[in-house]
Symmetry: C2
Subunit: 438 residues, 2 copies
């Protein structure tokens, strides 16, 4: 179990320590947080963060019979993407999902099938506020037979906002620690108006002075739990805004955080189309470069990384030790560089792991196997053999939806530079991008 | 030139006549309107409707260099779909588009390439309100050298809302005639909040009591033109809401019309993805059944229409006379029924027209050629010949991106019923749907 924030082994209050972090610092902190769980585990007194996801909605606005959080995108339910986005954040300890009794079994199947970790299920209420309240109750200490413990800060997010990033989660949590409550906001797309009872315009609101309240939001647990315990049945039935409850019942003025356009909520059928296209684009923008030995990373890996970063959003270079994790995080594109060996050892290892992972069941995985061979010391016969070998591999793995491309780079030992591979690599990557778009 | 509303040859005020139309009546009226231009043309004193489209925006929220109204969807600029949606409404006489001087030539090319009719271009202003004002000035009678005439009612719409339907346009125009101003509204997706100066929550608005103001809106021309002439520079620079101007300067309380989810505005990149998917879906949901003689429509056409309507949204049955218009309206799916002839005469005619139209340049056109032949009177040799013939056709037209499928139905003369074709047709249609999705 990992705690948040990391490194907090002492009993000191974490608030002041985080108070100074802004902008670029926050981003740096976000990436630091994710790798530093071990330190926190020792002390374990650092404040903990949990998340509550109301997922009891019926999705009536979608115009489809399946509740929108369970609608499939590339054959995987929407909520599974949202859980994945939260799971990736190492400092979120528990995720409580509120679903209807009717969908409880389906939700359990989703958790099992997509190997979600640290999820607790509670039954949702008839309204959004009641579902959130049920989630908070499960986290409160006074619940019997509960493996969950009360967090210091709780994030409230929507099951139908799958594109939440660690950066904005950290910003709302940090602000909630300081202010008691915080929420993401976005500029209004349309002017908001107030109708009169006869269906005519009463007045319009100045667009620049208002914002859309989005998710995620975060609260000191005691603040929001207190607010929910005090609030009226009318609030629970007709209210929509958690920040409003914190203000009304605990006099906490939430800090508002400007969010990115990614925070939008899947509401209508068109949003499912958009989500599908975004997920496809993300998959095509993620690549992992696997090197066969540490010294080669210096030589080729980092220059390849630099080059690829101009064209792709998420580039990872690894010597293969954390491949299992990378595959689990659903990277679908790999460049495997074999410098030291002539028998595609690294590529073979990667292909085995991919086949075992079943990653390619949903979506094709693309592997480009690059092999550097010394022009002078490798005879023509071996060159042909290499070509045949990669073709055989490709034919074999295609059966399991893995598309393998080979790239042989012959070079005189003293003149290996990346400029040789640049154009071919680009072409391969473009071909890959095209392929993965279909 | 067609006027609106149709049939209004007398000088009577059209308002009261329309006042009673609501719900289903309106829908019926909408479809009647489009075919009744000729009657109105004779009298020509019926009130006219024009539309103004501000299209001078830079699309900065999209995060792409091309202004969003010019972003291609299936290789056709977004604004062209919006123009098409307005053009299809026969009672909209003129469409004035306001574009920047920089994009004027590009806009002219779009009009030419997609054969838009009745469009006038004016230069946009630096803000949305200034662009609309320029459009209105072009429609006002006091402009020199202008082929446009002042309409009674003017629709204001956005270039980036391509999915507007005739039904909602008629509703806002009808309401504008009665109330002076009218606009489409939608429920709010997110709660709207008001931030304090220090970036904290000041208060949140009750979601149920507010609405998002969308487009289209419509106004008595004199009302909105008066409002724009009176309004301050501050309004023109920072305002966003035309309904507000009508209220502030002409004391007109606009009638609010509940719109469909289709009215949404393409604002972010994700909206382009959604628009593309919706356009693809629409194309696959539109089908035209071509019959080879009028008497067969009774026999097969209407039963086929009935059946297809259960599975597709837009089904048209024609004896071929208005094929040119149907092709121009971008129908991509055809079922061509040849009952009377055995030589695919109707199919050949349709294929010729399709090839001439260049429709299939952007997107494949699917034609299912159905041929009924009397089982007893047609010898086996001819049956084979028919099969070969359709294959040859298919091979030939595939070069021009037309996908032709043949369906031969052999029957004893006295027993021709549609139940024979039902399962095969369905399969073909499903196959077509799949094909057109790629």
């Amino acid at each position: 179990m990992e705690s948040w924030p990391p490194g907090g082994s002492g009993p000191a209050e974490a608030g002041p320590r985080l108070r100074g972090l802004r902008g670029a610092d926050l981003a740096a902190s976000a990436s630091l947080l994710s790798g530093a769980g071990a330190g926190a585990e020792a002390g374990c007194s650092a404040p903990a963060v949990a998340a509550v996801l109301p997922a009891g909605g019926s999705g009536e606005r979608m115009g489809v019979p399946t509740p929108k959080q369970f609608c499939p995108i590339l054959e995987r339910p929407l909520i599974s993407y949202t859980l994945q986005a939260l799971e990736r954040v190492s400092w979120i300890k528990d995720i409580v999902v509120a679903v209807t009794g009717e969908n409880m079994e389906a939700m359990k199947c989703i958790i099992q099938r997509y190997q979600h970790k640290g999820i607790s299920l509670v039954e949702s209420g008839v309204t959004r506020h009641r579902s959130i309240f049920n989630g908070l109750k499960a986290l409160a200490e006074d619940q019997p037979n509960c493996r969950l413990s009360k967090p210091e800060v709780v994030i409230i997010h929507d099951a139908v906002r799958p594109f939440v990033e660690e950066d904005v989660l950290l910003k709302v949590v940090t602000a909630a620690k300081e202010h008691g409550a915080a929420g993401a906001i976005r500029p209004l797309v349309s002017t908001v108006i107030s109708p009169s009872v006869d269906g005519c315009l009463d007045h319009s609101l100045e667009r620049a002075r208002h914002r859309a309240s989005e998710m995620p939001q975060a609260f000191l647990f005691d603040v929001i739990y207190e607010a929910y315990q005090q609030c009226s049945d009318y609030d629970l039935e007709f209210g929509t805004e958690c920040l409003h409850l914190a203000l009304k019942y605990c006099h906490i003025k939430a800090k508002l955080i400007e969010g990115s356009p990614d925070l939008w909520k899947v509401t209508y059928k068109r949003d499912l189309y958009a989500a599908e296209s975004i997920i496809k684009e993300r998959i095509s923008q993620q690549i992992c470069v696997v090197m066969d030995a540490k010294e080669d990373e210096e030589h080729v890996g980092h220059r390849l990384e630099e080059m690829l970063k101009n064209e792709l959003n998420h580039v990872k270079v690894t010597s293969g030790r954390d491949l299992q994790q990378i595959i689990l995080e659903q990277c679908y594109n790999f460049v495997c560089v074999n410098v030291m060996t002539s028998d595609f050892e690294e590529t073979q290892k990667l292909l085995n792991m991919l086949e075992e992972s079943n990653l390619s069941i949903l979506y094709p995985v693309v592997v480009i196997s690059v092999q550097f061979l010394d022009y002078e010391s490798v005879p023509f016969g071996q060159k042909m053999e290499n070509l045949m070998q990669i073709r055989e591999f490709a034919k074999e793995v295609k059966k399991t939806n893995i598309l393998l491309y080979g790239l042989l780079v012959y070079y005189p030992q003293e003149r290996i530079t990346l400029t040789i591979t640049k154009p071919e690599q680009r072409q391969e990557l473009k071909r890959r991008k095209k392929l993965s778009a279909y």
